[in-house]
């Protein structure tokens, strides 16, 4: 103790002011340095250019909706609401019901979420709370990289790796032990709803995990310390101090992932089997809204056929927009630092 001098300059605090070193503001130049008449005009031009960019986006969305609505009106007049509750899709007799596609989209997306959410949240927890520092960035980067892989590549990988794996090992095993549930029966083709759900899960993991990571990082350090100071273990701290506070945001990430899964086309089309049927078993082939449009658009010759496909597109569009809006709202409430308040 006390082996240093109490030199005044080392310590902050009020010290006598050396007047000669202070710049006198009152004598500084106050007039404008640059005077230019053209700046106002440039300013206005810039304003309108930027305004045009902004309006362009609105116009695009408006046009897409307009096109979808006008092109689908024929089918809408022919079938009405029944369109979404009928399951025959018969181009030869001009009978169109979109139920198998709606069903396929919903089931494959839910399956994807069931598989992806625990994995994605686990990855996020590991990266933000447990991973050694040197592993954090590479791991986060690799997870993000998964999102950058084109979906046709996922489709190819699924056809050559995932599907044989499912056919040879996973599906027979599931049929043997869980066949009683009715979800896993029938011939194990490999291709089918299960394969689509798994490939979607892999594609959705990076979205959910990066948003979960973001909202977990937004949880203030004081919350973690508060739980730790009560004698919590690391896991209890993560559960009570972090996940609980971030749950609205995580929910947002999950819904955003759902939005992606609903609209995903290529990879799903490649492995789902493309048969417009509703089957209980996940081994059976199915069809989704996105894949029916991609598959049949070029062959759609009749006006009604085309119109029916556009109507499927319109429905998909509306659903994904709503889902995305809900997700953004949830993520926004959390990262803005106003945690959704519990009143119960």
């Amino acid at each position: 103790m006390g082996n240093y001098a109490l030199g005044a300059p080392r310590l902050p605090g009020p010290q006598p002011v050396d007047k000669s070193k202070v710049t006198d503001i009152s004598r500084a130049q106050t007039g404008p340095l640059i005077q230019s008449g053209s700046s106002r005009l440039a300013d206005r031009a810039f304003y309108f250019a930027i305004l045009a960019c902004g309006l362009c986006v609105l116009a695009l969305v408006g046009l897409i909706i307009f096109e979808l609505v006008t092109k689908s009106s024929l089918s809408w007049h022919a079938f009405g609401w029944k369109f979404f509750f009928q399951s025959d899709w018969d181009p030869v007799n001009d009978q169109y019901g979109a139920l198998p596609f709606v069903y396929g989209t919903i089931v494959s997306s839910i399956l994807a979420l069931v598989l992806a959410v625990p994995l994605a949240v686990g990855v996020a927890v590991f990266i933000t709370e447990m991973s050694p520092r040197w592993l954090r960035v590479p791991l986060a980067f690799t997870t993000e990289l998964l999102a950058a892989i084109p979906s046709v590549i996922y489709g190819l990988w699924a056809i050559f790796v995932l599907v044989p794996l499912l056919r040879e090992y996973v599906e027979p095993w599931l049929a043997r032990y869980f066949g009683w549930s009715g979800l896993f029966e029938g011939a194990p083709y490999g291709i089918g709803m299960l394969a689509a759900g798994i490939i979607l899960a892999i594609m959705v993991v990076p979205i959910i995990s990066s948003i979960t990571r973001e909202v977990m990082t937004a949880v203030p350090q004081q919350q973690r310390e508060a739980v730790l100071a009560l004698g919590a273990t690391r896991w209890e701290m993560i559960r009570t101090g972090v996940l609980r506070n971030a749950r609205a945001g995580i929910m947002g990430g999950v819904i955003l992932g759902l939005g992606r899964a609903l609209g995903e086309t290529m990879a799903v089309t490649m492995v789902i089997g493309n048969r417009p049927e509703i089957a209980r078993s996940l081994f059976a082939p199915g069809y989704t809204m996105a894949s029916v449009i991609a598959n049949e658009f070029s062959e759609a010759t009749g006006d009604l056929y085309l119109s029916a496909l556009v109507e499927v597109g319109l429905a998909l569009f509306i659903v994904t927009i709503l889902v995305n809006m809900a997700a953004q709202l949830l993520v926004w409430t959390v990262t803005r630092g106003t945690p959704a308040r519990a009143n119960g």
């Binding site: 310390e225 009560l230 919590a232 945690p339």
Partner: protein
């Protein structure tokens, strides 16, 4: 009942930077001890070493001997066990925003596997009474979230949360620095009552606060404990020139 704290040769680091140098201190049971000093002098680090919160920061570590009652903090006891015996209140009120007031107070007990509902109700009420918040919140204990209270109420809620696990020591890291004078007054009053049953260590920036609530005061400077004595002595007749400079406002 509170217990005394014996600190011997406590050293602490953040990575390669040493934050505390050979701190020796004996904190009396059932008294309030204030820790004062300019910003960055290590007073918060010191308090966080007492319940091993210091080591939760990446690359932070501490060596030395800290005994709290019969408990050897850095030897043979796990950090979670230590923290269950020592309550802590932080600078910024940090109630759990997703929990009701009731659940906030019960959080520590629930974490430790306490499930007896009837006893839980009792402890929550007693803790809120101890922290002088009961009358203000008793009508909406389970209806309102901890974050819906005012800043001063939140801090008293945090005190209740810390008291609910029935600690022997209460550490307070600048508990009033984010509060208005009236809330500060309430908390100081509270400290007065609490030290009958707990040992309190309070870090403060406010020297008047130290002289009001604490019997003992330690003055930290650049990671060293310069002087530790009865509060009265520190503020009227300090034996070290640097302490005198600080309390008379020459620096800091």
């Amino acid at each position: 009942m509170g217990v005394s704290i014996q600190v011997d040769k406590l050293n602490a680091w953040f990575g390669k930077t040493q934050a505390l140098y050979d701190i020796d201190m004996k904190v009396e049971a059932n008294h309030a001890t204030a820790v004062i000093g300019p910003s960055g002098c290590g007073k918060s680090t010191f308090v966080r070493c007492l319940n091993r919160m210091h080591e939760t920061i990446p690359e932070a570590r501490a060596t030395g001997r800290v005994r709290i009652g019969e408990l050897d903090v850095y030897n043979g006891t796990s950090a979670t066990q230590i923290r269950r015996r020592i309550g802590m209140v932080f600078q910024k009120p940090n109630p759990f925003p997703t929990m009701s007031i009731y659940d906030n107070v019960a959080a520590g007990l629930k974490l430790n596997g306490f499930r007896d509902r009837h006893r839980l109700d009792e402890i929550v009420e007693r803790s809120l009474q101890l922290s002088a918040l009961w009358d203000e919140v008793k009508d909406f204990l389970k209806k309102k979230s901890g974050a819906s209270l005012s800043g001063g109420q939140q801090q008293r809620l945090c005190i209740a949360r810390a008291l609910a696990v029935q600690p022997q020591v209460l550490l307070m890291d600048e508990p009033c620095s984010a509060l208005d004078p009236i809330s500060t007054g309430k908390i100081e009053e509270l400290i007065f009552q609490l030290k009958e049953s707990f040992t309190i260590v309070i870090v403060t920036h406010n020297m008047q606060q130290a002289s009001r609530v604490a019997e003992f005061t330690g003055f930290f400077l650049l990671g060293k404990l310069i002087e530790f004595d009865k509060t009265e002595k520190i503020f009227t007749n300090p034996s070290d020139k640097r302490t005198e400079d600080y309390i008379t406002g020459r620096f800091g």
